[in-house]
């Protein structure tokens, strides 16, 4: 065997590719991750590191179920990563809050969660609606402008940079091969194998998994699939480290284990522009300090932007190619929340080479092949 031949090649070394790689390598170590270089868009380095359930599943109850299942296995997953690699990914699940800065915002939030819960096939997602007084009992730091909020016990957070590092370390401890700076230019399927041409030569594999984030839209048609994803820009703010003041993650504000306060969750259509903008950052900072007035004193030390990998309906796409057996694709904006599912459910399924899986039919991009009603 030449050293550029693998049973399975994964295109993409972000959270999705690394989680799938970790899971596959635990049973089939002749697997490679082909990653881009430092110029990659790299959604995994821009995310907010929430493990989040409340609000998920609108329009796709199976996605709500898939999300809940992943959140419920996160703790054991984090423990097994730490046992294997020694890396603590700082997973905590105290439950999480979504805060509203007006009664109208709170009403919209409650209606939204009720609509999601009312869908046929939707699992029961715990949430409580808290008025100002009830909220002040649990989160005494909130300011007077906070009208109320919702709380779900399922929600939590972690350190996503440590998660990415742990998955990469664990993947290589399992025997997987990581190749940096291997951007895949084209893929050819011939004589039962895949040939991937990269800027560092050709790599051959019996099966491939496309986990290339936004680049899946370019790569998937080369192997008979369609993975329509578009970029949604998110901007983030990091403050200087401060003493612990927030024990729970809030959907737009959280404090890391080391003390940094992160402010995030903006959503914009900005094409492939990864620049941050002062107007959006200012709006985010303004909302955050109205939620927690004491934040106003903190210095901002960094702000940046990244592009989410968004399927049209905001859920996830998992695909197995009919025309090129052995080609799979995965695309989602929830690489942190869904990491255990990718590693422990999706990866074994791919490692066994199962092409048709009822379990994943709800996530096929074929769901988009429906004519729009006039």
């Amino acid at each position: 065997m030449k050293n550029d031949e693998y049973d399975i090649a994964i295109v993409g070394g972000g959270l999705v590719g690394a989680a799938i790689g970790w899971g596959i390598a635990s049973s089939r170590p002749r697997v490679a991750i082909l990653d881009e270089g430092d110029v990659a868009l790299r959604a995994s380095r821009g995310n907010f590191a929430l493990v989040w359930v409340q609000g998920k599943g609108a329009g796709n109850p199976r996605y709500g179920m898939w999300t809940l299942r992943s959140a419920e296995t996160w703790e054991a997953f984090a423990e097994s990563l730490q046992r294997q690699t020694g890396i603590d990914v700082h997973y905590r699940q105290p439950g999480g809050f979504h805060l509203a800065l007006s009664h109208a915002e709170l009403d919209r939030r409650v209606a939204h969660l009720s609509q999601i819960q009312a869908q046929p096939g939707m699992p029961t997602i715990h949430h409580e609606v808290l008025d100002q007084a009830a909220l002040a009992n649990l989160l005494p730091q909130v300011g007077p402008e906070v009208a109320g909020g919702t709380y779900s016990k399922h929600d939590g957070h972690c350190n996503s940079l440590r998660l990415l590092r742990a998955l990469h370390a664990g993947f290589q401890l399992h025997g997987g091969t990581y190749r940096a700076d291997h951007r895949v230019e084209s893929i050819v399927h011939a004589q039962g194998e895949f040939r991937l041409s990269t800027n560092h030569g050709e790599v051959r594999a019996g099966s491939i998994v496309l986990a290339a984030g936004l680049d899946n839209a370019r790569l998937a048609p080369m192997v008979g699939m369609s993975v329509p994803v578009h970029p949604v820009r998110g901007q983030l703010i990091a403050t200087e480290k401060t003493g612990r003041f927030l024990d729970y993650p809030v959907s737009t504000v959280r404090q890391t284990e080391e003390g940094t306060v992160l402010i995030g969750d903006s959503q914009e259509d900005a094409g492939f522009d990864t620049r941050s903008t002062s107007d959006v950052l200012a709006a985010m900072a303004d909302r955050a300090q109205r939620m927690f007035p004491r934040l106003a004193r903190l210095n901002v030390v960094r702000s940046w932007a990244a592009l989410r990998v968004m399927p049209r309906d905001g859920s996830a796409i998992y695909e197995a190619s009919a025309g090129c057996p052995g080609a799979f694709a995965a695309a989602t904006h929830s690489g942190v929340t869904l990491a255990p599912n990718h590693a422990l459910v999706l990866a074994p399924h791919i490692a066994r080479g199962e092409r048709t899986a009822d379990a994943f039919q709800a996530f096929s991009a074929r769901r988009f092949d429906v004519p729009q009603a006039a």
Binding site: E240, K241, T242, G243, F245, E258, G259, R294, L295, R297, L298, N299
Partner: protein, 97 residues
């Protein structure tokens, strides 16, 4: 131990951890602290190790102190002023200051 190259400047009285210190007009808080023999300004945020002025040009964030009640100011980037209150810090800046 640090000493000033020239020591003919006008004196500016500041307080450091409640104690009166005579600084030289025009110098930074970091210079005044070093001249006074105070080399530990705060402790690192995660491991709590002692830290003090290092780069003296605003880049390293190792000389953080609380100035007039505001935490995490870089001592090397702030000029001494009459009556200024400087406090060395524990570890992370507390949100109340």
């Amino acid at each position: 131990m640090f000493r000033r190259l020239r020591d003919d400047a006008e004196r500016v009285s500041i307080s450091v951890d409640g104690r009166r210190v005579d600084a030289a007009a025009g110098e930074s808080v970091a210079a005044a602290l070093l001249a006074e023999g105070i080399e530990r300004t705060h402790a690192s945020e995660v491991r709590g190790e002692p830290r003090g002025p290092y780069c003296a040009i605003g880049a390293c964030f190792d000389c953080l102190v609380t100035i007039d009640g505001v935490g995490n100011r870089r001592a090397c980037m702030v000029e001494v002023a009459p009556g200024m209150s400087v406090e060395t810090q524990g570890s992370k800046r507390e949100l109340t200051r």
